[in-house]
């Protein structure tokens, strides 16, 4: 498993450095990447000898092995802290990173490098980040047992590593994120529920950093999956504009839900930033009392006049493709906007285009008023095996829809 062309960070640190004539200069103290130039290559070796640390550039190294680092050039410069550097020991070891492939937060115990002979020089590339028993053993044995023994003894312990390309560093400072070229592409590709789990596991600063920098749509989806207290604490820590941007992307019921948890001042500030449309949607929902149908429902639904045809329905659906992902019912309303029928989406597939929608709907239409209790709503869903339920206001107008996932959330909270 462990071959000769790899080197562990535990082995690199303390490795002796020799100049061209074989004189010892000192020992390796740390290694730094400059991710903006190359995301994996060790760009500088920091060598401690006398009073200061010296910097060895990657192309000044002739060979690297367990016996030491031999240089081919002696023009070394003193080390200055550089904001573009990601230092392995200082910034990576023992810190938390996100494993984008395994979708979890892990703590770095050791780092595995690949020794790469190039033309004229030898460089180290970060290969994997090590977690688990094997790397813990290496850390404990480091400097106590000779490295070659460590390699032999560790063999029976199963390795546990994450490829460097899947490692996402968590950096709360936005300036430094830019300098270190940390991107969130991998996080944005995750399922929102997985991302939510990861963010919940981090401390408040790191949470904020991630939600602040990822795409607002992804942030909104992930936030919707989190505990409402955590949603609130994250949103309160963000800039008002950014929070509004995210709220804008959330479904109105989720948005109203979290806004209700925020402090009044913050939530009214955020409301001010929203576009007129979302503002009216959200503030409408905002009015409803907790644990009522009004608080459960969303105002995103599709309704058509009662004499509409299948063709009309398809036309309307084409205009809002995003909604199709979650939609399963189309509602028909009369001239007073009162719901008259609910057409299951699947029926549209088998009916000819000219067919009136009303004929596709079941005979009875169930509805509740906004003030109906949460418990009553879940009972209705259970009894009639519903996927959606229309919600009407005091004037019997259709104002929202409750879907099965809203019911699941309510049940889960009990």
């Amino acid at each position: 498993m462990v071959s000769d062309n790899v080197l562990f960070c535990t082995e690199l640190i303390g490795l002796r450095v020799y100049d061209t004539r074989g004189r010892r200069l000192g020992r390796v103290k740390d290694a730094a990447l400059v991710p903006i130039i190359n995301p994996a290559r060790v760009d500088r070796f920091l060598v401690g000898g006398g009073w200061t640390w010296l910097t060895v550039r990657f192309d000044q190294v002739r060979s690297i092995s367990l016996d030491g680092i031999y240089l081919r050039d002696e023009k070394l410069t003193p080390y200055h802290s550089d904001e573009y550097m990601l230092r392995i020991v200082r910034d990576l070891l023992d810190q938390q990173i996100i494993d984008a492939l395994g979708r979890k937060v892990v703590r770095v115990t050791d780092v595995t490098f690949q020794i790469k002979p190039m033309e004229g020089h030898t460089q180290l590339d970060v290969l994997e980040v090590d977690i688990g028993m094997r790397s813990i053993f290496r850390r404990l044995a480091q400097g106590v047992i000779p490295p070659s023994w460590v390699r032999k003894i560790q063999k029976p312990i199963g390795p546990n590593s994450i490829g460097w390309e899947y490692c996402n560093i968590v950096e709360p400072d936005p300036q430094r994120r830019l300098r270190l070229n940390i991107s969130n592409v991998a996080l944005e590709k995750m399922h929102p529920a997985d991302l939510a789990d990861i963010v919940e596991e981090l401390g408040p600063d790191d949470r904020e950093a991630i939600i602040e920098t990822i795409d607002p749509e992804v942030a909104a989806d992930a936030l919707s999956e989190m505990d409402v207290d955590i949603q609130a604490s994250i949103l309160e820590s963000l800039e008002t504009e950014r929070a509004a941007e995210i709220i804008e992307e959330m479904s109105p019921d989720e948005a109203a839900h979290v806004l209700a948890e925020l402090e009044e001042e913050t939530s009214s500030e955020i409301l001010e930033e929203l576009t007129e449309e979302s503002k009216s949607e959200v503030s409408e929902l905002f009015e409803h009392r907790d644990h009522t149908a009004g608080a459960m429902m969303t105002t995103e639904y599709v309704s058509l006049p009662e004499n509409a045809t299948v063709q009309d329905a398809i036309e309307v659906l084409r205009q809002d493709e995003e909604m199709l992902e979650v939609l399963n019912t189309v509602f028909l309303v009369d001239a007073e906007e009162a719901p008259v029928a609910a057409v299951p989406l699947a029926k549209l597939f088998i009916a000819p285009g000219s067919h009136p929608l009303k004929d596709l709907a079941p005979d009875t239409l169930l509805r509740v008023t906004v003030t109906e209790s949460e418990n009553r709503v879940t009972d209705i869903f259970d009894k009639y095996n519903l996927l959606t339920l229309a919600v009407v206001d005091a004037d019997r107008k259709l104002v929202g829809v409750i879907t099965a996932d809203d019911v699941i959330s309510v049940l889960k909270q009990k």
Partner: protein, 415 residues
């Protein structure tokens, strides 16, 4: 006005949990024994120590819960990040050992309290172990916390049994505020033991992790601070009643040493069946309570510090180390109590030695961490608070080292 008061009470109860539970569970089988012993042998004299103990406890607990609220990270996480893996490993290994012996002591508490009702330990211990295992692994934290809070309320047993014994309240009141020092080696040992058992390393880890788990943030911290303080006071009130009931029941009839906490319960029998029953029920409750919290908290702490997956919401194959730790702590901790001739007393002394070695480390790490600007921002200790904190830490360390010395002496003598 009334409405605002109601609001504050509601907020308080919504954050009540971590700080309160941690302080109260501090009175586990070992703690109850120590306080019973103090009351039985020296009557009302040692009561004055409860006041400084409460203060020390508040200072140390407050720093932990503040760190949890501000950083959102557990203490073992922070130690790992700031002091490296080797230190963390050392601390975790000691913690594991100390907590294992603590678990043993509490299963022994279960055995002896049920033993008073002539339940064989071969029945009570395996049943309790199985119950503890299921409770921890098959329930989510929110429900566990409710059960724990209920267990906290059962500590009222001690208050009632203390009243039933009809101790000398005037004496008790006077000696609560009048420090009495005697140059009697037994007395000094007693005082050190009382302080030494009051702050245990595991509590710091458990409290901080529970604060994080509960999602308390820096903003909501003010209520948590009150909760920590109330918890510490409740803990001392319970200790007070344990001491006075033993003082009233045993010391007033002739001071003597007691063998274990069940021995103290036995001595309460002349004061009516209820005093005895309540004292036993209190001991049983405290032991079961601690036997639940210790394995859970240990597994969380160790896994967090060393970077293994943890949490009861993960499945066994996702977090094997976590589940194995819990299971082994319960099986070994309960199992040894059933072994004939197992040197339990020595193990408990050993646990005090290990705890005593660990506590200085943990307290020093804590105080360093809580002063790191980049971790705590504006929430670092103020200068005055730092003075108090370091003094408290120094006092705790001094007394704990004293306890280590005494325990080592006993350990060697008992061999």
């Amino acid at each position: 006005m009334l409405k605002r008061l109601k609001y504050h009470i509601a907020v308080f109860f919504s954050v009540i949990g971590p700080g309160f539970i941690t302080a109260v569970v501090d009175n586990d089988a070992g703690g109850i024994f120590t306080y019973s012993q103090a009351g039985a042998k020296y009557g009302y004299l040692p009561l004055w120590t409860l006041l400084p103990i409460t203060l020390l406890l508040i200072v140390t607990q407050e720093m932990c819960s503040r760190m949890g609220a501000v950083t959102g990270k557990g203490l073992s996480d922070l130690i790992r990040e700031e002091f490296g893996l080797r230190t963390t490993f050392f601390v975790m290994a000691l913690l594991l050992l100390a907590n294992l012996t603590n678990v043993m002591a509490n299963f022994a508490g279960i055995a002896s309290s049920l033993g008073l009702f002539t339940v064989s330990k071969y029945i009570s211990v395996p049943l309790a172990a199985a119950a503890v295992w299921f409770l921890i692994l098959k329930t989510d934290y929110q429900r566990i916390e409710k059960i724990f809070l209920f267990a906290c309320s059962l500590y009222i047993c001690y208050i009632v049994s203390g009243i039933l014994v009809k101790p000398d309240w005037k004496e008790a009141a006077i000696y609560s505020v009048r420090p009495v020092l005697m140059l009697d080696s037994g007395y000094i040992t007693m005082l050190i033991a009382m302080v030494g058992t009051s702050v245990a390393p595991w509590m710091q880890f458990f409290l901080q992790a529970a604060v994080v788990e509960k999602g308390i943030t820096a903003k909501g911290y003010a209520e948590s601070r009150i909760e920590v303080i109330v918890g510490c006071i409740v803990m001392s009130v319970i200790a007070f009643f344990i001491i006075v009931s033993c003082a009233g029941a045993i010391w007033s009839n002739g001071p003597r040493d007691i063998v274990d906490a069940a021995d103290a319960a036995e001595a309460l029998k002349p004061f009516g069946q209820y005093a005895f029953l309540l004292f036993c029920a209190g001991l049983l409750n405290a032991s079961v309570f601690a036997a639940c919290i210790l394995p859970l908290s240990t597994a969380y702490t160790v896994c967090e510090g060393l970077g293994f997956e943890s949490g009861v919401n993960r499945r066994f194959n996702e977090a094997p180390v976590f589940y194995w730790l819990i299971t082994l702590l319960i099986v070994i901790g309960g199992g040894v109590v059933l072994l004939p001739n197992f040197p339990l007393v020595q193990m408990i002394l050993l646990s005090q030695v290990i705890n005593g070695m660990l506590l200085p480390l943990v307290l020093i790490f804590m105080t360093i961490l809580v002063n790191k600007q980049y971790l705590m921002k504006e929430w670092t200790n103020s200068r005055v608070y730092n003075f108090v904190a370091w003094t408290a830490v120094a006092v705790m360390i001094g007394l704990t080292v004293g306890l280590v010395g005494i325990s080592l002496q006993d350990l060697l003598r008992s061999k």
